[in-house]
Amino acid sequence: MIRIAAVGDVHVDKDVVGRYRPALEELPDRADALLIAGDLTRHGTVEEAKCFATEFGGLRVPVVVVLGNHDHQSDQQEQVTEVLTDAGITVLEGSATVLELHGHRLGIAGTKGFGGGFAGACASNFGEREMKEFVETTEVLSRRLGEALRSVECDALVALTHYSPVPETLVGEPLEIYAFLGCYQLGQAIDSAHTTLALHGHAHHGSERGRTPGGVPVRNVAHPVIKQAYNVYQLLSEEVDARLVPA
């Protein structure tokens, strides 16, 4: 059995430091790793990244993240990644990592992902250069996620993105902005491997649960959706124990 904690869209800046920490101090008693689905900061500055590392670093479990669109706002994503990496946090972008937990291998592949929309209402690689660049970005990031997922040998495989791979977890958002919240290509990438669970954020008004066309469970872990510091998911269960608080 493996338990993973997950949240997204924590948007850390100076004013948030300390808010999550009491719950994070309890996390190692509840889960074996923490995954964060992007929008770690407000504007993607180095200072905010240091605040994030202070708040979410130094736990007794591995922390694995992807960046979100907010983390790109200041065009300092490389420096942000460096700050996080120096703090012992694993940052995925078209890449994968494997954690050894209780004798099991947990594979995690991640990308920020991008928009583009879903079946019946998606952007096409056609027309103006700007539109083609938009869709090419969607396709490249999704393809790299698929390659990263298929490259991992593990007992359980998690796809970690910021943008959504399915429309079901966007329900609650205005239909008009679905194309800015995710894309079907991410779902195709997730279905191209033996993925156990897909986690994403970005859709603050969305819904918690969905599935890819191939049947992979999808969870929107955006903080305003889950309304707690993190959710905990149990993989490779031998028996189910829904209690998290130690007896």
């Binding site: 924590v10 907010h70 124990d241």
Partner: protein, 82 residues
């Protein structure tokens, strides 16, 4: 004159693009001369800054703020994925 839909769009762009706000998850409903704000943010300072910026840029509007602060307590349950 700014039309209702334009006003909502202008407020949402202000909340996203202003350096001191950067919020994309705030809902804006315009009812006659009252703007009702919804959604959740990470701190009371952020909620107050949203109201301050709208009041500064649109001084004739009355603002009703229903923005909440997202709770950050530890979970008590686990979900089994199968």
């Amino acid at each position: 004159m700014t039309h209702q839909f334009d006003l909502e769009a202008e407020i949402q762009r202000l909340l996203t693009e202003h350096d001191r706000v950067a919020e994309q998850g705030i809902t804006v409903q315009h009812r006659e001369n009252v703007v009702v704000l919804g959604g959740e943010v990470e701190s009371a300072q952020r909620r107050d800054e949203i109201c301050r910026q709208i009041a500064t840029h649109f001084p004739d509007l009355e603002i009703t703020c229903d923005i909440g602060i997202t709770r950050a307590q530890a979970p008590a349950e686990v979900e089994e994925i199968s």
